[in-house]
Amino acid sequence: MTRSLVIPADLGEGVEVRVLLWYKAEGERIGEGDAILEFETDKAIVVVTARQGGVLRRCFAPAGEWLGAGQVAAWVSDGADDPLPGDRGAPAEALLAAFETT
């Protein structure tokens, strides 16, 4: 199964976040508890930590780029060869993750 890492929609309508750092690269395995991504708003820096493992398949915004609240930031699959959704907006189960303000 492939799951989506989603920027929380409850950050607010129209809110953007800037990707600061990917802790993992595409193709790299993520363990439960591993940091995946760091992003910022003008008020806070957030570290996203996996609550379930998988393989990071796609990162949709490199460091320095922007994502909107509710947007898919990445795909994480159980296995490296799991099929991927047809497009970024396709419905997919959300990856269980913790979003910690640093």
Binding site: E13, T41, D42, K43, I45, T101, T102
Partner: protein, 430 residues
């Protein structure tokens, strides 16, 4: 419906006196008459209290007041009855207004920042940010040091507009303190006018890349019936786009007074609240102006940074509106202070209409910001300022208990003229 301004009676009277001193008599205080300036500020507060300025007694018997109410009460619109300190307030701010050279000059900006409240970060470095000049034309040499905790610096990352210090949380024993010294160039910013060969009446038609500056949601900017009605009332009439924006600016100067506002007084329609309260600080005034410009079809943005006035060194926000390719025109609501809300004043009415004086530009919303890192602002807050020797202190406090969240000590030196093109203080590129 938003009621009148709230009263957060949490600040000792002595701190309010210091605010009045800075606002009205800072030149006198710095000129050697600190005791006299303070005495005048104390008498001002006594008058305001005798006229009903709200206050209460704290547990120890100390007099506690709202941090903003006294200074807000001093201000009067042109022609209206005013406290006897009002002329001093206006004289002080007007002297600031004309103190900076228009041509580019080199400045040295000194900031000591103390973070007293920050989120715990077990296992990860704490992140602290300091502002730097953002615009290419302003950038200069910066020296940054982490003072406390000594030896606690894990990483430093510099980027346009900011320096980021990553600190080992295990080394932290109290407030985190950093110091910044940066030499940069600043000069007056003006409407650059249309490019050569372009029509004098630029249409302001948005270009690719302007999308962030056309959004109807950003910060306190959100869809507002009151603001939409105001925009509609301004939209008609003959004249080119610059004339339209001048009307917008003048209307704001007429409608709103420049003053401090508790964010808790803003409801789900923040800018509608501002229009009802009739008071706006620099962020709120800029937000209203930007929202109106966007509602009228112009890309518009909020800039933030620091005023360089010798007696008003501190954070500030203002607006830029795009009237054509590369033509960003500055407008600063803060000029309300100089004209006392009279846009027809022949000297002060349009002082920052289409121009701004030299400033340190650190942020261009929404994407170029310093950011708060591990030290976000408290959910509810207020600001204070006071003179500390030569330096000006700006503090951020949490409500309702007044706990100190952050302290900035600012100083500035004017080093001398700089050759090169005018325009680094305000209007210009990205």
């Amino acid at each position: 419906m938003t009621a009148g301004p709230s009263q957060q009676l949490v600040v000792p009277a002595a701190d309010v006196v210091e605010q009045i001193l800075v606002q009205c008599w800072i030149f006198e205080a710095r000129g050697g008459d600190l005791d006299g300036a303070r005495a005048r500020a104390e008498r001002t507060l006594e008058r305001l209290l005798s006229r009903g300025l709200p206050a209460r007694r704290g547990p120890g018997g100390e007099l506690l007041l709202d941090p903003y109410a006294a200074v807000n009460a001093l201000k009067s619109r042109a022609g209206a009855p005013a406290d006897e300190s009002w002329p001093a307030w206006q004289a002080t701010t007007r002297r600031n207004a004309t103190s900076l050279p228009a041509a580019p000059h080199r400045y040295r900006f000194l900031l000591r920042r103390e973070w007293h409240a920050f989120a715990p970060s077990p296992g990860r470095p704490l992140v602290f940010r300091l502002p730097l000049p953002l615009r290419d034309a302003q950038r200069g040499a910066a020296e940054v040091s982490l003072v406390e905790p000594a030896g606690g610096l894990v990483d430093r990352r510099d980027s346009p507009g900011r320096v980021e210090l990553r600190v080992d949380p295990a080394a932290v024993r109290g407030p985190v303190v950093a110091e910044l010294g940066v030499t940069f160039v600043a000069g007056e910013g003006r409407d650059p006018g249309p490019p050569p060969g372009a029509p004098a009446t630029g249409s302001g038609a948005p270009e690719a890349g302007d999308e962030p500056w056309l959004r109807d949601r950003e910060g306190v900017i959100a869809p507002s019936p009151a603001l939409a009605a105001l925009a509609a009332s301004l939209a008609g009439g003959a004249g080119d786009p610059r004339a339209l924006l001048d009307r917008v600016y003048d209307r704001l100067i007429s409608l709103l007074a420049f003053g401090d506002v508790h964010r808790g007084d803003l409801d789900a329609d923040p800018l509608g609240s501002v229009l009802r309260l009739g008071v706006a600080d620099c962020v709120l005034g800029s937000s209203v102006l930007v929202a109106l410009a966007r509602a009228l079809g112009f890309p518009a943005r909020i800039l933030s940074g620091f005023l360089l006035h010798p007696a008003n060194l501190g954070p500030h926000s203002w607006a830029e509106v795009k009237l054509g390719p590369g033509r960003w025109v500055p407008f600063d609501f803060g000029a309300w202070c100089y004209s006392a809300g009279d846009p027809t004043d022949p000297v002060w009415g349009g002082f920052f209409r289409g121009r701004v004086d030299a400033r340190l530009v650190a942020e261009v919303a929404p994407r170029d910001f310093t950011g708060w890192g591990s030290a976000p602002p408290p959910p509810a807050w207020f600001r204070l300022e006071r003179l500390r020797g030569r330096r000006i202190e700006h503090t951020l406090h949490a409500l309702p208990d007044g706990r100190l969240a952050r302290r900035d000590l600012l100083d500035l030196e004017l080093l001398g003229p700089e050759g090169g093109p005018v325009g680094s203080g305000g209007a210009g590129g990205a």
